[in-house]
C-alpha cells in the first residue's frame, strides 16, 4: 500500500492508502475531517470542494495518492484564530445557506473565484459557481454573499 504525506488544515499526516482511495474518503473516513461532505458519485455537486495547494479541487475526483506531498485546506481550516473568513461571514450575513450541506464546497469555490477575479460581476459569479450545486437557496443569496465576500476580501488585502 503506498504511503503518502499530506498537510491538512495545518496538520501533517502520513497514511498508508489503497491506490483507489479518494481524497474525500481519506479526509472523511481516515482523518476525521467530516466538515467536507460528499453529495454525489459523479463529480457533479461540488460539495466536496477543498483547496489543494491553493487551488480548488473536487476531492471526490482526486485520488489520495495524487495528493501526496500537497497542502490541503478544508472548510474546517478556514477560520483563523476563531474569526471567520470574510467569505464565511458574508454567507452568514446574506443568508446564503439553508441546510448547509453545499456550503463548505460553495465557500471554498467562492474564495477561489474571488482570488482569480477580485471584483466579479453577477454573471461571473454564476458561471464560476456552476460546478457547485445547491438545492435549497436558489443561489440568489449565494451570489449576493460572494459579492459581499469579494469586497471584504479586497479590503482585507488592502489593509494588510
Amino acid at each position: 500500500m503506498p504511503r503518502i504525506s499530506v498537510k491538512v488544515d495545518g496538520i501533517a499526516y502520513e497514511e498508508d492508502v489503497e491506490p483507489r482511495l479518494l481524497l474525500v474518503h481519506l479526509l472523511r473516513e481516515r482523518l476525521g475531517k467530516t466538515g467536507t461532505p460528499a453529495g454525489c458519485d459523479t463529480s457533479n455537486c461540488g460539495a466536496c470542494t477543498v483547496m489543494l495547494d491553493g487551488k480548488t479541487v473536487k476531492s471526490c475526483s482526486v485520488l489520495a495518492v495524487q495528493a501526496d506531498g500537497s497542502d490541503i485546506v478544508t472548510i474546517e481550516g478556514l477560520a483563523a484564530n476563531g474569526s471567520l473568513h470574510p467569505m464565511q461571514r458574508a454567507f452568514h450575513e446574506e443568508h446564503a445557506l439553508q441546510c448547509g450541506f453545499c456550503t463548505p464546497g460553495m465557500v471554498m469555490a467562492a474564495i477561489d473565484l474571488v482570488r482569480d477575479t477580485p471584483d466579479p460581476s453577477e454573471e461571473a459569479i454564476r458561471e464560476g459557481l456552476e460546478g457547485n450545486l445547491c438545492r435549497c437557496t436558489g443561489y440568489c443569496n449565494i451570489v449576493r454573499a460572494v459579492k459581499r465576500g469579494a469586497q471584504e476580501m479586497g479590503q482585507a488585502v488592502k489593509s494588510s
Binding site: 489503497e18 472523511r28 473516513e29 475531517k33 467530516t34 466538515g35 467536507t36 461532505p37 453529495g39 454525489c40 458519485d41 459523479t42 457533479n44 455537486c45 460539495a47 478544508t74 472548510i75 474546517e76 478556514l78 477560520a79 471567520l84 464565511q88 454567507f91 452568514h92 450575513e93 443568508h95 445557506l97 439553508q98 441546510c99 448547509g100 450541506f101 453545499c102 456550503t103 463548505p104 465557500v107 453577477e122 459569479i125 454564476r126 458561471e127 459557481l129 456552476e130 460546478g131 457547485n132 450545486l133 445547491c134 438545492r135 435549497c136 437557496t137 436558489g138 443561489y139 440568489c140 443569496n141 449565494i142 451570489v143
Partner: protein, 775 residues
Amino acid sequence: MTEVGKARRRKEDARLLTGRTRWTDNLQQPGMLHVAFLRSPMAHARITGVDVSAARELPGVVAVFAGQDVAGEQGSLPCAWPVSDDIVIPEHPPMAVTEVRYTGEIVACVVATDRFKAADALEAIEVDYEPLPPVIDLETALSPDSPKVHETGNQAFSVKITSGDLDAAFRDAPVVIDRTYVQQRLIGAAMEPRAVLVSTDGDTFTMWTSTQIPHVLRVMLAMVTGVPEHQLRVIAPDVGGGFGTKLQVTAEEVLCLLLCRKLGKPVKWAESRTEGNLAVHQGRGQLQHIRLAADSDGRIRGLQVDLLADMGAYLMLVTPGVPMLGATMFNGIYKMDAYEFACKGVFTTKMPTDAYRGAGRPEATFAIERIMDELAAELRLDPIEVRRRNWIKHEEFPYTTIAGLTYDSGNYEAATDKALQLFGYDKLRAEQADRRDRGDPVQLGIGVSTFTEMCGLAPSRMLGEANYGAGGWEHASVRMLPTGKVEVVTGTSPHGQGHVTSWSQIAADALGVPFEDVTVVHGDTAISHKGMDTYGSRSLVVGGVAVLQACEKVREKARKLAAHLLECSPDDLDFADGAFKVKGTDSQTTIQELALAAFAAHNLPEGAEARLDSDATFDPVNYSFPHGTHLTAVEVDTETGHVKIRSYVAVDDVGKVVNPLIVEGQVHGGIAQGIGQALYEEAVYDAEGNLLTATLADYLLPSAADLPDFVTDRTETPATSNPLGAKGVGEAGTIASTPAVVNAIVDALRPHGVRDVPMPCTPERVWRALEGGRA
C-alpha cells in the same frame, strides 16, 4: 422589543459554515459495521434464487442476508393514508423476497467492517431472476390486458368528488377548453444523500437518520418491526435538505434496525447519489386531463379534472395522499359554478412516488394556471385580465370555494398589482410586440401564475375526515432555566428552515428575554417527546404557534409567582420587556429573576410547583392559504429552442412574517425548484423500466448559471386561523414558478402555432413544439 419581524441572521450558521456538522454519515460508534444493499437491476422479475455463500467468505464480511433470511421479521413498509374504501395496499417487504417490482429494489445486503468491503462483497452475490413484463405507461397499465404489477391489478384506488352541476356548466358553454398535461416524475435530490446509523445497548435502540420525521418514524418503526416504542429513540441530527423526500419510512431504516438487532453491533448505511436517484421516492407523476367551461366574457362556469396518478410499485407513507392534497386545489383562486375531481392511482414498475415539495398542490396549480392562459388566448384576453374576472375578491373573504375549502383571507388584487409594477409588465409587452413585428428569432414570452395553496398541515379533524392515519397538531415545551436562560423544545424537525432562529424570535418576544438567551432543541425523540415533524409548510403555522402558546403559559405562571413575591394581585401587574411591574409603583421583578426564584423554591405561592416551564399542543382550526403572483419573462430562441429566463418577480402573501430573511430564502429556493421542473428535471424510465437518470450527470439540477436573480416582495394579509397570522412559505415558490415559466414559453411561441410544450421544456422539446406548430 420586538424580535418577530426582524431579519435576524441565523443561529444555525456558525457551525455549518465551519464544518462542525453532524450529518448522519459523519457519526461513528465504537465497533460500528457498515451496510451495503444489493439492488435489483430489473424493473420486474421473480427471484428464483439468491446465493450469498461466496460473499460470506470475503475478508471483513460479517454477515450477508437475502430477503428469505429476514422474511419472518421484516414486516411491511407502511402506508398511512388509505384515501378511499377501494384502496389496495400491497405488501411491501423492505427487502424483496419473491418478486422485484422496480429497478433499485433491495434484494440482499452485506454487513462488513468498512464501507468499501461491504460494497465489494455485493458483487459476489448471485441472484437469479426470471423476468416479468414491466408496466410503465399509466394509460396502458389500466387496460385489461396489461401485465400486472400486483396480483390484484394495477389500480390502487379511485376517487371522485363533485360539487355543483357540472353538466349544466358545460351544456351550451360558449367556450370549452380541453387539455392534457403531463406532470413528469421528479427526483427531489436533497444535497445530503440519506444515511442511517443504529446502535443498541442490548435493550434500547438509537437510530440516527437523515429524516424530516423522527417522531412519526419512531411510531411507524415500532409498528413495523415490533421493537417496542419506548425502547426506540430516533434522532434526526443535521439533515441536509428534505423537500418531502425524507418524509418517509424507508426500507433502509427498517433493515438497519433489524441488522443492529440481529448482530448486536452498531451498523451504518450511507447512500450513494446513484442509489438515491434509484430508491428515494420520487415526486409528481401525473397524467392530467382538464376541461374548463367558460362564458364568452371569460367567466369560468365549470372545471373537470381527470387524473391518473403514478403510484409506482408500492404505496409508501403518503403515496396515495399526494394527489388527494391537490383534490381541492385545481380550482385555484377562482370562483366557478361546478367542479369535478376524479383520480385513479395506478401501479407501475417504477420507484414509488410520494411527497415532494408542494405534494399535489403544484400539480393542481400547474393545470389551472396553464389552462387559464389557454382560456385567455382563446378569448384574446390578457392573461391577467382573465384571472381578475374570476378570482375571489378581497372583500369576499372568508370564502368557501367550489371544492369546499374555506379560504380565510387573501388579497389577490394587491399582490398582483405589486407584481405587475415591479415587473414592468406593460414595457415588456411592448418589447414582445416589437420582437414579434420584427420577426426576431429570439422571442419574448411573459408568464404569470396567480396561485394559492392549502398548507399548514393540518387540522387533525380534517385529516381524520380525509382518512389520514394521524393528526396534524404540533407540540412545544418551554423551560426557564435557573440562570434565566430559555430552552425551547419543539416537535418540528428542521433541515434547513432555520427554526432555531425563528423560534428564538417568537420566544424572546413572548417572554421578554434577549434573543441570545433562547436555545431551541429539536429532532431527538428522547428530548422532544412529542411532535409531528416538518413538511407541508406546517412548522411555523402549527409548531411556531405551539411555541408561542407554551411561552404564554410560562408567562402566566411567572405572573403568579411575581404577584406572590411582590405581594400584590396578579391583575395588578403589567408585563413589558420581560419585567412584571406593580401598576403605579417602581416595584418590579423580571421573568429571568423569577426563574431563579422558582428554582430555589424558598418562597412559592401555596400549591405552586418548583418550576417555571410549560408546554402546549396546538391544533389549527383550518388550513392556511398563502398566495401570490409570480411573473416571469423568458427569451426563447426559435432556432435552437433554447430558453433563457430573463427576469422573475415574485410577490408572495404568506401572512405575518417572523423572519423576512428566512422567508425570502424559502421563496428563492422554492422558485428554483419549480423552474427545475419546468426546464430541466425528469426521472426518465425506458420501456424496460431502467432509470436513465440515475446520476447527477443525467438528472439535471439547476445551477447558478441557469437562473436569474429573483425579485421578491410581499403583501401581508394575516391568516385568521392562528394567533401568529402566519400562513407558511416552504412550498409556495415551487408551486408558483412551474406554471409561470411554462406559460411564458408558450406565450412566446403562440404566434408560431404552439399551445403547449411538455415539461421539462428542453431545447429539443421547444424545437419540436415549434416544428409541430409550423406543420
